[in-house]
Amino acid sequence: MVNKPAQKTTKRKSRTKSHSKSTDNPSNEQLLTYYHEMLKIRRFEEKAGQLYGMGLIGGFCHLYIGQEAVIVGMMAATEKQDSLITSYRDHGHMLASGMDPKGVMAELTGREGGYSKGKGGSMHMFSREKNFYGGHGIVGAQVSLGTGLAFAHKYRGDNGVCQAYFGDGAANQGQVYESFNMASLWSLPVVFVIENNRYGMGTSVERHSAMTEFDKRGDAHAIPGLKVNGMDVVEVRKAADLAISHCRAGKGPYILDMETYRYRGHSMSDPAKYRSKEEVSKVRKESDPIDTLRERIIAAGAADDAQLREIDKTIKAVVTEAADFAQKSPEPDPSELYTDVLSQSLTHA
């Protein structure tokens, strides 16, 4: 290696800035909200895995189990006008955005009651109401699209910030750097959230990336970055506040390198031969985001075991209801095959 990495010469002023005071010591209420949201995603995904096993969900299905702290911590710092876009591992993002678990699960089963009327599936759901812009199946595409959502925030002057999520695998896509360049050049309000779960499908970061410090991937475009413990929702929340306020202040984009881990395979049919069982169980045992938070809640006296069990029960009921709905909702009418190809309105609203 002859070339010195560019980070040596780039200013990284934001990295030393103190974190927002509101989240340094999260309130008991905040902790319980995080717990609720993270557990909802975990239980939803476990149920989705089960329905897949029963043949009720088809095709590709990418579970988010293990990464829950990332989206829940980020959403805690999000405001109503902000927008969000992600890849195909999107169930957690939709639930955390406030989308109805019934509609999400029914899309997974390909039913009329799904968010896309059964025409999108696991990888393609959207909600204008929640400013959730998908759900994209082409690796890296959402980074350029999200930069465009940020362009629109700035164009309209609506004070919104876009969060564009992508994995360590997508971080090597060419369009990511084209987007970094434009986002920085035009000071667009976009947080690039790299969910580094250590594997791009079955290839580990060390095997797919010449430079694995993803927080520094913006150096060539003068975008500040921060490495974050993505298994700790409180740490994620702090980083989210920092990055989002940077963008909202008109200072341009920000990169968050979320170090996280996915317990399940890349998709349902992944036998995970590229990593050891010991590696997975070590992460689960030592840094599971939900177990860690549970301990923190009990230590802080925010809730006792019985109260947490109540939350578990409530969530179980929500997920069961979603699964029931997803099985009872009818398949889309055959006439739906031909609709939604072109927008029929003569002029765009």
Binding site: G53, M54, H124, Y133, L145, A152, E331, D340, H348
Partner: protein, 465 residues
């Protein structure tokens, strides 16, 4: 209450598998996430994790069993506090150990698709009925195609602040082909945006902006460079309305020079009409005259769908009379009969319309009256106008600059076969670009592109003249 553990499907295609090993024994506590057993599929051996918590009450399928069908009950889980006696009821209610057929056990086995009538199977376009071209009898103004494009964009940008222009050299340079001349001064750098030379990225950015309801006009310096942006045009723009069940449209125009210019060789001289016209979710237009350019570009900007707008560099400087009316808009999906005739139909689009009209003049001198159709819109294609013309002339020649294979002419041939077969007095004839990458040498380039005499010869051939 007991819970059944079912044989899971571990891939999109799995119907059965072998139960290789139990990791838990009867009486063991199980937490969700615990590995309970290993299953071998035709592709791999995979671990099965528990979803529910409880105590493993009874193993229904012993390890070593082969060919266990998906959804067969492989074990019974007891809830905390339940004892094994709960299982007797469970077993009687559960399917017998011999696994049930997967299809029956899958409550929502896919139904056989309903028989689709042939006419419906050919429903390739969900476009609304196209309104006819408005009658116009007001004053005309002479302008170049370049000026027409600029005035279309400027008028729409004055009317709608959500419309903006972006692309390489559109602002300070005033447009690589001077289409956006003066627009930076009028609309400012927020709405006339110079981009880096990164088509993939800025096309994606523009589609993202369109998702949020802005109406970007993306100028590709030429459509050759849009190859880098193809993923966003097709996967991100054209499919999202469908994938979102109608929620998320992409009101965006991709425009720029398409096809051969002059002496710029293979990588800068390709016609992409048939590539885009192939794809549902897009509209594709290709104007010839300045009136086409202005009326169709305004329609494209107002359209709520992604529209591919294929211009031609050589036409930019040509002048035509254009209706002097800011509300002059042409309907997308309607062809125009540029010249009426009863002997033979000639279809063309973009620069080839002019070439076809020249050919028609020559043919008229030989007593052959050609009807020249300017297609204007390639998706949706105005098949009605083409078919009606063929019903009158009984002969048709298609003309395009692009390659013959799977081209616009091929599509028209298929339409004529399906809808006007009995009206043909001669086989359809295609006049196309030669099936080679565009050469640089002047003589070879000329040989590669359709010429007036090629059209004349084809028309005479189908007229047996």
């Amino acid at each position: 209450m007991t819970t059944e553990i079912l044989m899971p499907a571990l891939s999109p295609t799995m119907t059965e598998g072998n139960l290789v090993k139990w990791h838990k024994a009867e009486g063991d506590n199980i937490a969700s996430g615990d590995v309970v057993c290993e299953i071998e599929t035709d592709k791999a051996t995979m671990e099965v994790e528990a979803v529910d918590e409880g105590v493993l009450g009874k193993i229904m399928v012993p390890e070593g069993t082969e060919g266990v069908l998906v959804n067969a009950v492989i074990a019974i889980l007891l809830e905390d506090g339940e004892d094994v006696s709960a299982i007797s009821t469970a077993i009687s209610a559960a399917p017998a150990q011999a696994p049930v057929p997967a299809a029956a056990a899958t409550p929502q086995a896919p139904q056989a698709p309903p028989a689709v009538p042939a006419a419906q199977a050919l429903q390739v376009e969900a476009a609304p009925a196209v309104a006819p071209e408005p009658e116009y009898s007001g004053p005309m103004v002479n302008m170049t195609v370049r000026e027409a494009l600029c005035s279309a964009m400027s008028e729409e940008m004055r009317k709608d602040k959500d419309v903006f222009l972006m692309g390489e050299e559109v602002a300070q340079y005033q447009g690589a082909y001077k289409i956006s001349q003066g627009m930076l001064d009028e609309f400012g750098a927020e709405r006339v945006v110079d981009t880096p030379i990164t088509e993939h990225g800025f096309a994606g950015l523009a589609v993202g902006a369109a998702y949020s309801g802005l109406k970007p006009i993306v100028e590709f310096m030429t459509f050759n460079f849009a190859m880098q942006a193809m993923d966003h045009i097709i996967n991100s723009a054209s499919k999202t309305l469908y994938m979102s069940g109608g929620q998320m449209s992409s009101p965006i125009v991709f425009r720029g020079a398409n096809g051969a210019a002059a002496r710029v060789a293979a990588q800068h001289s390709q016609c992409y009409a048939s590539w885009y016209a192939h794809c549902p979710g897009l509209k594709v237009v290709s104007p010839w005259s300045a009136g086409d350019a202005k009326g169709l570009l305004k329609a494209a900007i107002r359209d709520p769908n992604p529209v591919i707008f294929l211009e031609n560099e050589i036409l930019y400087g040509q002048s035509f009379d254009v209706p002097d009316d800011p509300e002059f808009v042409l309907p997308i999906g309607k062809a125009k009969i540029e010249r009426s005739g009863a002997s033979v139909t000639i279809t063309a689009f973009s620069i080839m319309v002019g070439v076809a009209l020249e050919a028609a003049d020559i043919l008229a001198g030989e007593g052959i009256e050609a009807e020249v159709i300017n297609l204007r819109s390639l998706r949706p294609l105005d098949t009605e106008t083409i078919v009606n013309s063929v019903k009158k002339t009984n002969r048709i020649v298609t003309v395009e600059e692009g390659w013959p294979t799977c081209g616009i002419g091929s599509e028209i041939a298929a339409v004529i076969m399906e809808q006007a077969f009995d009206h043909l007095d001669a086989p359809l004839s295609r006049v196309c670009g030669v099936d080679v990458p565009m050469p640089y040498a002047a003589n070879l380039e000329a040989l590669a592109l359709p010429k007036v005499h090629d059209i004349v010869a084809a028309a005479k051939a189908v007229c047996y003249a």
